[in-house]
Chain length 384, copies 2
């Protein structure tokens, strides 16, 4: 967080970071006569992402939603196939399954983290399970060891929805690189952004060649551009998942500022943790935390209020003080499309209760000390 | 086309137009703290597109490929369903079918236009046909009357792939607005561009509400943003088809310059038509033309050489003179994925021959008189 005054107006929930060099990069794209996908900024941003994540294969995509769709295509998901995923996540994790005609099977969460509960996953797995999709909520790693113990003996690949978790670490391993696939988001609510964008990390060699074709409208255009074939043509299923160089140019500037972004976000996170511990303890409020050995990504900070009424009251209390807080996600199993397309083994009470109690506080890299103080004062002046 | 010298270097095949105000618009996006989808530039570009096309409902998308996918989702295409489409088109028209698990059925073309031949379509239609997909090659309208005569009695919707045809008119009707859906491309090889981008024109009210949900990751977020619901949740299948405001900002500037772009492109097209008529007549070369009542979009200009060897020789002859010409598309029915996923009633000889004879000349809005002359001299110095 930065020093100085908050100025007037509300403390917004989220505000995209502005990295040095964004406009200069965009100017270069316009002058270069190459603003479609896979130009110099895509190459540079991809290299930076490889560096940050340590992943061997990184493909920029038009969104995290599309990275998840690519994983579904690479796994050849189809009607009759099932994918187990947490009910507490963003709808894209489920649409990526449903658009292939496959069935999402919802699992409950661990109430300490909001992450999928391996025991609930074990209950949901059947002979039809073709993948386990996991989301690292707030960049706190899900229990990958326990999930791998379920998945590996059955030969089921794990998909990591790492939209929140760029930079997160679990027992020395970087998030997004443990499953067969890791999906990143660069939506402008995320730590690092380019308006709309994403990336697929591929951690299993077998999928690399086909991924390139699927991403390029089902053609071997990538091979053509490398000079390996003298014309390109339709090879496979696919879509158009190349972000334009406009998006890549902004992403490249953002990734260059990644350490700075993370430092600022962590300062806000730490200020919340330090400033709310006593208040939370006194009022039976649970706070976000990361278990030992886990390094979270400072993507978000949340409180779990004692009851649903407290959640609603705190959001209203903060709003009256010009502080915007939020309560998502809405569990997918209870949403209209979840009921229609999905399946669950039993009522997923822990996710429902997590959602009922959750309050997410504003957290972004450009927050001033004064803004952080306003949030802290707002929360601490509330009695659950 | 503009006056002045061509400078050194090759005459490239295509170069994106640079519209006034692009960088200023991008600067505004970065300052606005809203660079994800559906901000002010999306609204403005959408309004301009409605004006240019006359379509009642326009949704910007991340690409034409994705607009075609949206049409497939809105038609609920699935395994067992068939869609008839020309074999002579870009692979995206087929991937949009195949990603739904449906079957592309390829039809032959009319050799005078490269557009799908209604008789071949009639041959390909079965009880399983759920849509007819048509592409207006070079923005010269396909025979929509004949296609509607096949489609309407059977209740089959028409999808217009109008990637080439923004601004094209057929018998007073603007391309992209006759079928149930029109799909536009703003890839930077197109008349109007934003790096990567597209739009879906919806010409049948029934699809509008659901299209909004499919485009927004299967959620009712659009309703939420209008204040019609107090939170949004997972409603339906869907994907993420919102272009970022970065792309919309460039598109808005381009659309503002649409008349200028078209004027310049038409000048190049007219110069080719006038400058090559005699040479073509002498050497048995067919040239691109538009039938009376049709206004093409000046997207491309092509020649059909007498034989395949002439095609190859002309491309090489031009290349030696620093002029880049091209020969796509490669018929889909003969491509690896066409053989695997598709079906055809008979060998599609006319498309194969069209592809074998085709030479596309450089055509872009920024071409100088000198560059056009170099192309004309290059062609006219060739003897088929
Ligand atoms: C009707 C239709 N419907 C839908 C969509 C989807 O739109 P979205 O992108 O918005 O989703 C499109 C999009 N197509 C565009 C261009 O039309 C197309 O030209 C090409 O652009 P490229 O930059 O690859 O190629 P180029 O600069 O035009 O030529 C460069 C060399 O490439 C060789 N080549 C070319 C082709 C095409 C091919 O098949 N095989 C092949 O060996 C020939 C040359 O030497 O690809 C674009 C995406 C479309 O046209
Ligand atoms: C794990 C995971 N996996 C995959 C992806 C796909 O990524 P791509 O986009 O790259 O494809 C995502 C992406 N999600 C992000 C954000 O996480 C998310 O916050 C939201 O941003 P918004 O701007 O809509 O909302 P906001 O500003 O965070 O809140 C504003 C108000 O919206 C209300 N709201 C909010 C939600 C979310 C919801 O369900 N229901 C709901 O009523 C609450 C507030 O009052 O949507 C984004 C796309 C993801 O998180």
């Amino acid at each position: 967080m930065a020093g100085g005054d908050s100025g007037g107006g509300d403390v917004v929930f989220s505000r995209p970071f502005r990295a040095p060099g964004e406009l200069e990069n965009l100017d270069r794209v316009l002058r270069s006569d190459h603003s479609h996908g896979d130009g110099v900024f895509t190459a540079s941003a991809t290299a930076r992402l490889r560096e940050i994540t340590g992943a061997g294969h990184v493909l920029l995509t038009t969104s995290c939603t599309h990275a998840l769709e690519m994983a579904s295509m690479l796994l050849d998901l189809g009607p009759g196939d099932e994918v187990v995923l947490p009910t507490f996540t963003f709808p894209s994790a489920a649409t990526a399954i449903v658009t292939r005609g496959a069935t999402p099977v919802f699992a409950d969460i661990d109430p300490r983290t909001g992450n999928v509960d391996p025991e609930s996953v074990a209950e949901a797995v059947t002979e039809r399970t073709r993948a386990i999709s996991v989301m690292h909520y707030g960049g706190v790693a899900a229990d990958l060891d326990a999930l791998e113990a379920i998945a590996r003996p059955r030969g089921i690949p794990i998909i990591e929805d790492n939209a929140h978790g760029l930079g997160g670490v679990s027992g020395g391993r970087r998030l997004g690189t443990e499953g067969a696939f890791g999906a990143q988001s660069f939506h402008d609510t995320k730590n690092v952004h380019c308006g709309e964008g994403g990336a697929l990390l591929i951690n299993d060699e077998r999928y690399v060649a086909r991924a390139e074709i699927i991403r390029e409208k089902g053609t071997d255009r990538s091979r053509f551009l490398r000079g390996a074939v003298d014309k390109y043509s339709w090879q496979d299923a696919g879509s158009s998942y190349l972000p334009s160089e406009l998006n890549a140019a902004v992403l490249d500037a953002q990734l260059a500022a990644f350490d700075e972004i993370q430092r600022r976000r962590r300062a806000v996170w730490d200020a919340y943790a330090a400033g709310l511990a006593d208040w939370a303890g006194e009022h039976g409020v649970d706070t976000m935390s990361a278990a030992p050995g886990l390094e979270h990504s400072a993507h978000l900070y949340y409180l779990l209020l004692p009851e649903h009424e407290d959640q609603q009251a705190l959001i209203a209390h903060l709003k009256a003080r010009g502080v915007r807080a939020a309560f998502h996600y809405i569990p997918l199993d209870s949403a209209p499309a979840g009921l229609r397309y999905g399946r669950r083994v039993r009522p997923l009470d822990r996710a429902a209760r997590f959602h009922d109690r959750l309050v997410r506080l504003p957290l972004w890299a450009g927050m001033t000390d004064a803004e952080v103080e306003r949030v802290l004062d707002g929360v601490r002046s509330f009695r659950p």
